[in-house]
């Protein structure tokens, strides 16, 4: 009992430290860094959406970058052409991407596994070309800059959208940071509740054995299509945040590489864990934005090499990712400590072992990619 509480304490401390770091960071970093942190958040949110589909439900998508891009372009077009206020566009992006996700989810009922990966890879490759094709709407290869009519020197003109902080002492980049942090946290809380619910268990059941899930009374087709929709909507929110943060969108931001990095974030952090994609996104961000610029010019491209190698190595050695690995580790520690105290309090130990087993099952089983 005591060791369990000890481990719980470790987790609580980790959470508290993370919370403090997240709140303090925008006050101690330069504005350009704060913008980079927001980009990491957008990656984290999109990766969390992908994780719902690929990690929990087992439908492999190598094309979530296209959905992220769809969200970003929805925002850009609504703000610039339709003069929408900024934040409602995020909801519109989610709805648009939900519909697109459902449309992609329909053929995914028949196309599975490796073949679904192939189709989504083609979607990711196609997306920038689609943007260039419909340049009337999307601005083509030049992209779109988010503008709105603003009062400037006495007259109303189209100017780049800005984030004005309503609170004194909070710079505009810090204000933006906290708004996007709030949106990200909402997304993660929604996902956390979803996967703990009956729906979440049916997602995992479908991944592990579709026939068995169908027999147990789960409506497999409906669940899979809706999962695709929700996953796409969350990825779209990530993209919407990206567009609002940068103030411009460009087809080169939404290539196959982005889709691949989203997958990297999910897998490195820990697929089928709630917080894994966020950790993966931070690792990705640290590599791309912090380490890579520090390297000499000729070594800049070492980043994809390192991430690719990490990905392969991790898949072969620790497929459950960082968070999954952490759960495995804590489970092992608590089991060992239980074993040590066996002689003293025989009765209590039998009870707690059961609890430990129950807990490990819950925590580690959804993780990783076992067949």
């Amino acid at each position: 009992m005591k060791t369990l509480r000890g481990l719980g304490l470790v987790q609580t401390i980790l959470w508290a430290v993370a919370l403090i770091v997240v709140i303090v960071l925008p006050f101690t970093s330069a504005p350009f860094r704060v913008e980079q942190y927001i980009t990491w958040m957008t990656i984290a949110v999109a990766a969390a959406g992908l994780n719902l589909l690929t990690g929990y439900n087992g439908q492999i998508s190598v094309g979530h970058g296209a959905l992220y891009g769809t969200g970003a372009y929805t925002v850009a077009i609504l703000v610039t052409d339709a003069e929408w206020p900024l934040l409602p566009t995020v909801i519109a992006a989610a709805i648009v991407c939900f519909v697109v996700g459902v449309i992609i989810g329909l053929p995914a009922l028949r196309i599975k596994g490796l073949y679904l990966a192939l189709v989504t890879l083609a979607v990711a490759t196609l997306f920038p070309l689609v943007i260039e094709q419909f340049s009337d709407l999307t601005g083509g290869s030049g992209g779109l800059t988010l503008t709105s009519e603003q009062l400037y020197r006495g007259s109303i003109r189209d100017r780049r959208v800005k984030w004005e902080s309503p609170i004194d002492g909070l710079a505009s980049d810090q204000w933006k940071y906290f708004i996007f942090l709030a949106i990200s946290i909402i997304c993660f809380v929604v996902i956390a509740n979803l996967v703990k619910s009956r729906v979440g268990r049916s997602l995992v059941a479908i991944r592990d054995n579709e026939t068995a899930a169908e027999v147990s009374g789960i409506n497999v087709s409906r669940t899979k299509i809706l999962t695709f929709g929700v996953s796409a909507a969350i990825a779209g929110i990530g993209g919407a945040m990206f567009a609002l943060n940068k103030g411009q969108v460009n087809p080169t931001s939404f290539t196959l590489t982005l889709s691949i990095y989203l997958l990297v974030a999910v897998v490195l952090g820990g697929a089928s864990t709630v917080i894994g994609p966020a950790i993966g996104a931070v690792i990705y961000g640290v590599f791309i934005d912090v380490i890579s610029p520090e390297l000499p010019e000729s070594l800049h491209s070492a980043t994809p090499l390192i991430l690719g190698t990490l990905l392969v190595a991790q898949m072969l050695m620790a497929p459950s990712g960082i968070v999954g690995g952490f759960h495995d580790l804590t489970a092992r520690i608590s089991r060992r400590k239980q074993g040590g105290g066996k002689q003293d309090k025989n009765e209590e130990v039998t009870v707690t072992t059961h609890e430990v087993v129950a807990e490990t099952d819950l925590e580690t089983d959804p993780g990783g990619f076992h067949p």
Binding site: A117, V119, V123, T303, P304, M315, L316, P319
Partner: protein, 294 residues
Amino acid sequence: MNDFLEILVVGIGNGAIYAMLGLGLVVIYRSTGLLNFASGELAMFSTFIVWTFWNFGLPMWLAILGGMVGGFLIGVLVHKVAVSPLGDPHERPLAVVIVTIGLFLGLNGAAQLIWGTVDKRLDPWFGVSQITVGGVAIAWQKIGAVVVLFMMVLLLWALFKFTKVGLSMRAVASNSESSALCGVSVQNMLMLGWGMAAGIGTLAGVFSAPNLGLGTNLMQLTLVFGFAAIVLGGFDSILGAVVGGFVVGILSSVVPQYVSVFEKMPLAPAFILILAVLLFRPQGLFGSKEVARV
């Protein structure tokens, strides 16, 4: 009419390239049952090896041979280190996708690291001259691509049909356990398959590079075209890869010319083809049907 014929010639030339990449994909699918998402990047990497030899002053054919050997060795290494420890690809599709995507990233990064991010120029193997047949100009490079493709198909066919190695590879593909019991080294055969696929892919890169410029993104679109080719032809059919390659090549050069919605996306017809075939005839034109035991 001549315009159409010229577009058709371009499509056939591209189709030969897609078919070459498709052949590599088929060889890997036949031997290990997996879709190799890194095969385009493998081809790109070994094309850079070709360029290095060529830039060093070797004659083109020798440089290509060197690149193919290099590609073969990398393919063997990749299989040994990253792919074979995974086990049965259809049991763990996600793991296969992740590992080949990891290789995709890694090879791309390695190529940028070694050769830089500025595009290199690789001369066309068969020169820049062309012949005119009935008013239609045909570049020798395109004829060369088609001839090389057919030689490769002939070689592969002969290998699988007449040699002991080819027989062993087919045995491993159809039932690896039984062939292991007969004394065939399964791992060696799979390794050979990966090596061969990477070697063949080199040629696709060599024929793409003069037109597209030799950069690290050389094969990213071609990969999707190559996949479209083998989806249409059937994942395990060599004939299918060739027919599929030409169909995809012709479609993706003709359709954007005449359908204005597809003007800037030659990839779209290929994508629609992939989707339609996988939905309605997953075994493709010449592939064998997949049967699952429940």
